[in-house]
């Protein structure tokens, strides 16, 4: 049995044309991701000491600022959905058996949802000065310091 993929640009769809919205989402999220990811790489890998400076205290400092919490939250959601939908397209291209395609597509979206929930919880329930931290690993603004 072959797989039916709706043409994204068909003019009068009978039902909601999800392929069309997927196609538009890839482009809209792509534009935003250029800004989000280039900004992420610039602050984390270019400024200061780059990769050398990345540790718990660095992340603690960034996520004490709502600006970076929102930045990373947007990047998390947009990139995971963009990447997962892109992988779904690739699965549609190569998985010829319906059961294989359905299973892979299900695994992709389940993984995507799990990581979005995990990442979102981490960004908002994160404590930059946890009681279980050795003092020298904590950011400089922690009272324990």
């Amino acid at each position: 049995m072959s797989i039916v993929i709706e043409p994204p640009r068909s003019s009068k769809p009978k039902r909601t044309n999800w392929e069309k919205y997927g196609w538009m989402y890839m482009r809209a999220s792509g534009v935003l991701l250029v800004i989000l990811i280039f900004g992420h790489l610039f602050t984390n890998l270019w400024l200061g000491e780059g990769i050398k400076a990345i540790d718990f205290a660095f992340v603690g400092g960034k996520w004490s600022d709502p600006f970076w919490q929102v930045w990373d939250l947007l990047m998390l959601w947009l990139a995971l959905i963009h990447g997962t939908n892109g992988m779904r397209t690739i699965v549609n291209d190569y998985a010829e058996r319906v059961a294989v395609r359905k299973t892979l597509t299900y695994v992709l979206w389940a993984t995507c949802a799990a990581l979005i929930v995990l990442g979102t919880l981490v960004i908002f329930t994160f404590d930059p000065c946890p009681a279980n931290g050795t003092i020298e690993n904590l950011p400089s603004f922690c009272p324990a310091k």
Partner: protein
């Protein structure tokens, strides 16, 4: 003997190879992102757990592999803009070939600026 297909606008040319590269880089970035969300989530566990895992990102082997990741992101992002321009800009299709080479040059210039600085950090020089 099947004969070679006659020349087309797409096959074996910039249109096809940019698509192949876009697809391969997209898959590579996707799998890195899965790992990256997990390693970052360790901040929620303990500072020690996070610092221990992030230390692997600073080893020479992974440090050099990060250059490959940055190169993949540069190509995918810039070629993604090219794809969007082909779709929405009236002259996009006409200039797709030129835009591909602009993507390659811009990606290379940013990469050439980034690589030495990153290697300096990975190998503790300066």
């Amino acid at each position: 003997m099947p004969s070679k297909p006659a020349g087309t606008l797409y096959r074996g040319k910039v249109g096809m190879w940019s698509w192949v590269l876009h697809r391969i880089t997209g898959v590579a970035i996707f799998f890195f992102l899965l790992v990256h969300v997990l390693d970052t989530s360790l901040v929620r566990l303990s500072p020690e757990a996070y610092d221990a895992v992030i230390a692997t990102y600073k080893t020479p082997l992974i440090g050099v592999a990060e250059l490959g990741l940055v190169a993949a992101i540069l190509f995918h992002a810039l070629n993604g803009i090219r794809v969007i321009l082909i779709d929405f800009w009236g002259k996009g299709a006409k200039y797709q070939n030129l835009m591909f080479w602009i993507v390659v040059v811009v990606a290379f210039v940013i990469f050439a600026a980034f690589a030495p600085r990153h290697l300096m950090h990975v190998f503790h020089l300066g």
